[in-house]
């Protein structure tokens, strides 16, 4: 059995009368790419928002287990604490910092791994200067890995769409997570870009050793890269298993009207 990184037990989220997430169980192990799929409005994004501290879940248990460390129960944690614990995310509708440069966007991701304070910033002593240099270098190298270095000093808002998506991933990676949560990273991409994304995600897993949990609608991408798949519908988890199992699962076929799954 592989080491678990994320363990979510019967997570529930109510918005007034609407139960957007209903007793969902999900786990991600070290070295895995896990996909969370389901029709629009199934509650996938809400699930992400709950486990990253943007919403406080109504019920359930969320634990992250940093490799080789003790489990941390993160219910009710603020988002930055969860990022600090080692889980970083991207957003379904891109949320970059539009008026910061591409490099600065990534540098912001280093915030939780650096320490200089107000006085340090004003006096700019050797510690701050070194840290600042390291931040720039780290961020620039990350941009190189993501093929974004040519945009380093452009404003994020001026980037082409596909590059913005990749920049969001780069920014999340700058926080040095052990688990990366991607919310529909291929949304709005053309087949060529989707193919590149496929390679990129595999590369992140293999070369950086970061495990991945992703929400995705592109079935070809999901079936290609996932080790395991969880399926949600109307807030409930209706199936889980390997891509092969999911493909054959009658409930899933019904939920998707049997079309896309075979794509």
């Amino acid at each position: 059995m592989m080491e678990r990184l994320l363990d979510v037990k019967s997570l529930t989220m109510d918005f007034g009368g609407l139960r957007a997430v209903d007793q969902v169980n999900l786990d991600v192990c070290q070295g895995e790419i896990v996909a969370l799929i389901g029709p629009n409005g199934a509650g996938k994004t809400t699930f992400f928002n709950c486990i990253t501290g943007i919403y406080a879940p109504s019920d359930g248990e969320i634990s992250v287990i940093p490799p080789g460390k003790k489990p941390i129960r993160i219910n009710g944690f603020k988002p930055h604490k969860i990022t600090q614990a080692g889980m970083a995310r991207t957003f379904q509708n891109i949320r970059l910092f539009p008026n910061m440069t591409v490099l600065e966007n990534v540098m912001l991701g280093r915030h939780c791994r650096t320490t200089s304070k107000i006085l340090g910033a004003i006096l700019r002593g050797s510690h701050t200067r070194r840290e600042e240099e390291e931040t720039v270098d780290f961020s620039y190298h990350l941009l190189e890995k993501m093929g974004l270095e040519k945009y380093a000093n452009e404003f994020a808002k001026n980037l082409p769409y596909g590059a913005q998506r990749r920049l969001e991933i780069a920014r999340a990676m700058a926080t040095e997570p052990f688990l990366l949560l991607l919310d529909e990273p291929a949304a709005g991409m053309n087949p060529q870009e989707t193919k590149e994304l496929d390679d990129l995600i595999t590369k992140i897993k293999n070369e950086e050793g970061i495990s991945i949990l992703l929400i995705e609608h592109d079935m070809k991408l999901v079936m290609n890269i996932s080790d395991r798949i969880f399926v949600m519908e109307y807030g409930r988890e209706i199936a889980k298993g390997t891509p092969l199992e999911i493909r054959e699962n009658p409930k899933v076929i019904e939920a998707y009207l049997g079309e896309e799954v075979h794509a």
Binding site: T52, G53, I54, K78, P79, H80, T83, Q84, A88, R89, F91, R95, L96, F97, P98, N99, M100, T101, L103, E104, M107, L108, G109, R110, H111, C112, R113, T114, S116, K117, I118, G120, A121, I122, R124, T128, E131, E132, E133, T135, V136, D137, Y140, H141, A152, N153, E154, F155, N158, R171, A172, A174, T175
Partner: protein, 408 residues
């Protein structure tokens, strides 16, 4: 065809203006002779004036829409050339040298009146740079900034009155107390953004003023506190005009200090967190930034400068009362930040000087000066909504990269 459309629209505007201004511009009731005077010539002036203005306005609006915002400045060759020229070290250093010389000889070639208004303008530069942290960098619309200015001024006045503390001790104390008030205001408004935040901070500013106005035992109420000493130099007797020259230099030094600190803060880990918070609060938190701490530092550091400026203001005027700390003051400081370009240090300095000095030098136009002032503001907002100086991209040197290349 097009021109007829324009004439029609301008005519409608003119008629509308005539209608609106009719009671004040045309009718005049003479209460002594109990007669009504009809000033038709005024009506013609309003009609012609508003027609012409509306026409010109429309013309400019049309031409303004043509270039895309990003193309502006980047595409225009002379602006680009000017930018490069400014960046050139020879130009840059000679400009700095000239400015320094001018600043140093200023009090010796101009009258005391000039020195005083320059000092005031520089105090506003400090205020503008301080508020720039809160509004321009962290994106928190604070309409009660004057409260911290008041805290600084009253700290000095009261600490001197009751404990005889002198200016030099009160300067950091006033700044510190204002920072404390910044945090006190920061806590309840942490969850608020945009208009809600604006309203609450506006209320906070008014509360501070009302407390100062009504709590007579504490602050001496509307009659204020007088005989606040000017900044002393130990062992030296200063005459009145020497004292204002001294204050002028002190404010110059403090302004430079402010510029230095704000610039360093902006290009730091904390500065980036402020800007990111302004750009997207949720993404910023999700990337590991502690929202609470970041907002509170912005409020506290912004307030610090207001506190310091307040102490200097009290020392300069030697008399303070709550009337100096009204909402109008907050509005002026905010205009400085907005006009200067959110987050831009050079822009804020320039706009503080323009906004404070302009009304002074427009005194020649007496009653029209505020009108002119308003017109300048409106024109600015229409033609350069991003402010005098738009955000400049911060670029970085990739040291590691260079090393890699040398090795490889």
């Amino acid at each position: 065809m097009h021109i007829f459309e324009e004439i029609k629209k301008s005519t409608i505007t003119a008629v509308w203006f005539v209608f609106l201004t009719f009671p004040i511009m045309v009718i005049r009731v003479n209460t002594i002779h109990k007669t009504i005077e009809w000033r038709w010539d005024n009506m013609i002036m309003v009609a012609v004036g508003s027609f012409a203005l509306s026409f010109v306005w429309r013309y400019f609006m049309e031409h303004r829409q043509a270039p895309k915002p990003e193309a502006m400045g980047r595409g225009v060759p002379w602006i680009q050339n000017a930018r490069q020229a400014i960046k050139h070290p020879v130009f840059f250093y000679s400009a700095i040298a000239l400015l320094t010389v001018f600043a140093v000889i200023f009090p010796f070639i101009f009258s005391r009146y000039q020195v005083n208004i320059m000092t005031t303008a520089l105090i506003y530069v400090m205020l503008g740079l301080g508020l720039n942290i809160v509004v321009g960098l962290a994106g928190l619309l604070d309409l009660g900034y004057v409260a911290f200015y008041a805290v600084g001024a009253y700290s000095y006045a009261l600490l001197h009155l009751h404990y005889g503390l002198n200016f030099w001790i009160c300067l950091p104390l006033g700044a510190g107390l204002a920072a404390l008030f910044g945090i006190i205001l920061g806590f309840p408004v942490l969850r608020l953004r945009g208009d809600y935040l604006a309203i609450v901070t506006l209320g906070f500013g008014e509360i501070i003023r009302l407390v100062l106005e009504n709590w007579n035992e504490f602050s001496k109420g509307p009659s204020g506190i007088a005989e606040i000493p000017r900044p002393p130099i130990p062992g030296v007797e200063l005459s009145l005009s020497e004292s204002s020259v001294f204050l002028y230099f002190l404010v110059i030094i403090l302004t430079l200090f402010t510029v230095f600190v704000v610039n360093r803060l902006r290009n730091s880990r904390i500065g980036r967190a402020w800007i990111a918070l302004r750009e997207d609060e949720i993404a910023c938190q999700a990337m590991g930034v502690n929202k609470t701490a970041t907002k509170l530092t912005a409020f506290a550091l912004g307030a610090t400068w207001a506190g310091m400026a307040g102490v200097i203001f009290a020392a300069k005027t030697t008399f303070i009362n709550p009337a100096s700390f009204t909402f109008l003051e907050s509005a002026i400081i905010l205009s400085i930040v907005v006009l200067g370009g959110m987050g831009s240090i050079v822009g804020v300095i320039a706009s503080a000087l323009i906004l404070i000095l302009l009304p002074e030098y427009l005194r020649a136009f007496s009653e029209y000066r505020m009108l002119l002032f308003g017109a300048v503001l409106v024109i600015m907002m229409v033609f350069r909504p991003q402010g005098l100086v738009s955000t400049v991209r911060q670029t970085y040197q990739f040291k590691g990269l260079k090393k890699d290349k040398e090795v490889g």
